[in-house]
């Protein structure tokens, strides 16, 4: 087993365990994780109270506009962001691209996002995340997808939403779907759970564990279209543990102020007086794309299996 030399006479400290991987996500709960493309943006995010940043070369709105193949970011660019802040830094690898994940582990990234926002590298298999000592977060649109990712070793789930749109409708759809399925699952008897597991194509043991806990066995954030403090609080009230904000902050008129307002909205998600206060005078929100005007082919949430 991996060791790090920190002991106190009993066992040697053990790194990379499931508890330790899931544990970091538990420390991020009630927080906001922000997409950043430069060390300066990372500082703005940290100063606003972000619990972590996602380092990437282009935010999803620009990936959408740019087209072409979207890949892991340059390690040099990611390291520049890791040096700029003390909060955890995440970075994206393509779905199924385990070598990109190996590279991110080698540079000491705190979390890998195996993300549908990048162009998938494998249309059948996701990364076997048990092989890594660093934790992974994966996207999901429903309970079956979430539990398949957890079976592969994901230590954190984010509902996908539709990244780079600024339209919260898909984030709501996916959170309601996943959380609603869990609510239905908790009402089933043990015999019915076998068929439920078969129908959602998820391992029975994880279905049973989810039923017993009444929630996913790992932390579950919302993502994909959150652009305002009210959007963030909406997702929290629906029952997620925190939010990712991608394009919504640095595509807006006053990123520093909006970032701080979204952080405060997530903490005080149940307090409309605070929400009213932090929603004022934020400048222009990102313009956005209405998801209902998009074809299925234009939706990146479809990626992942």
């Amino acid at each position: 087993m991996a060791t790090n030399g920190h002991t106190n006479g009993h066992n040697t400290g053990e790194t990379g365990t499931e508890t330790v991987k899931r544990g970091l996500a538990q420390m991020l709960k009630g927080g906001v994780i922000m997409d950043v493309v430069t060390p300066e943006q990372a500082k703005v995010a940290e100063d606003a109270g972000a619990v972590a940043v996602m380092a990437l070369e282009r935010i999803p709105a620009d990936i959408r506009a740019h087209g072409g193949v979207a890949r892991m970011s340059d390690p040099d660019m990611i390291e520049g962001i890791m040096k700029a802040v003390t909060i955890p830094v995440m970075a994206k690898a393509r779905i199924g691209h385990f070598v990109e994940a190996q590279i991110l582990e080698a540079i000491g990234i705190d979390y890998v996002d195996e993300s549908e926002v990048l162009t998938p590298a494998d249309e059948e298999h996701h990364i076997n995340k048990h092989k890594f000592k660093i934790p992974f977060v994966c996207g999901a649109r429903n309970l079956g997808e979430a539990l398949r990712r957890i079976a592969e070793g994901a230590a954190m789930i984010r509902t996908k939403g539709e990244a780079g749109t600024g339209d919260v409708v898909e984030a709501v759809r996916h959170a309601r779907t996943l959380l609603g399925e869990i609510r239905r699952l908790t009402s089933l008897d043990e015999d019915e759970m076998f068929t439920f597991a078969k129908n959602i194509q998820a391992p029975y043991a994880l279905v049973k564990e989810t039923a017993e806990l009444g929630r996913l066995p790992v932390v579950n954030f919302a993502a994909g279209g959150v652009a305002t403090p009210a959007d963030a609080a909406l997702m929290m009230q629906l029952g997620v543990d925190g939010v990712f904000v991608g394009s919504g902050i640095f595509k807006s008129g006053d990123p520093a102020k909006r970032a701080k307002a979204i952080v405060e909205a997530v903490t005080h998600f149940n307090n409309p007086d605070v929400l009213a206060k932090v929603s004022r005078n934020l400048g222009e929100a990102m313009v956005g794309i209405s998801v209902s005007s998009m074809t299925d082919q234009q939706k990146i949430a479809q990626r992942g299996w």
Binding site: H6, G23, M27, K29, G30, G31, V51
Partner: protein, 193 residues
């Protein structure tokens, strides 16, 4: 007995569940008025920079300092950083009520996070399964501080200063409630002297 858990950000629900499993009443604290009448407070793990900034934004620093003068308060990980007097060069809001010099992220990045069985003074029944996640340590403690646990390299990972308690690790993530029980006993002894 009613115990508060600072719920600005982080693993506050895990602390809540542990306390409730031991029969305590729990209140989540997000604004100064939520501190009124509490018998003790836990400052959970999370991101210490985030917790500090939110505490400043909502006017919690002075009410929290006032609270910790007389009421039992326990900081875990980020909470230990928040309680400390000195964290070296890092600039972030602190309560500064425990005479500890703390080194944030003492072990490096997430890949260096670890679990270890730890002997803790005052916690009976064998070593405690301690989970360290991007954890701090204290490198020195003032005369009024009892060191409860150290790692082999002598860094301090559990300490008590009168009615104040700090752990660099996360007892709220372990399947072991002994330190929560210890804290409730401490709170009971202070509220009924």
């Amino acid at each position: 007995m009613e115990i508060g858990v600072l719920a600005l950000q982080g693993a506050f629900i895990e602390h809540r569940k542990k306390l409730e499993s031991l029969g305590a009443t729990v209140r989540e604290v997000r604004l100064p008025e939520h501190l009124d009448g509490l018998d003790g407070l836990i400052i959970p793990g999370g991101e210490s920079t985030t917790i500090g900034k939110l505490a400043v934004s909502y006017g919690l620093l002075d009410p929290l300092r006032e609270f910790t003068r007389s009421k039992p308060t326990w900081g875990t990980c980020a909470g230990m950083i928040f309680l400390a007097k000195d964290i070296g060069g890092d600039r972030q809001p602190l309560l500064g009520v425990m005479d500890l010099t703390v080194n944030r992220n003492a072990f490096g990045r997430q890949i260096d996070s670890f679990e270890v069985n730890l002997d803790i003074a005052g916690i009976e029944g064998g070593p405690f399964p301690a989970i360290f996640i991007r954890a701090p340590v204290a490198t020195s403690a003032g005369a009024g501080v009892d060191v409860l646990a150290r790692l082999d390299d002598q860094s301090i990972v559990a300490a008590r200063q009168g009615h104040l308690l700090a752990t660099a690790f996360h007892p709220e993530l372990s399947d072991d409630a002994r330190i929560h029980r210890f804290f409730l006993d401490l709170a009971a002894s202070v509220s009924t002297p």
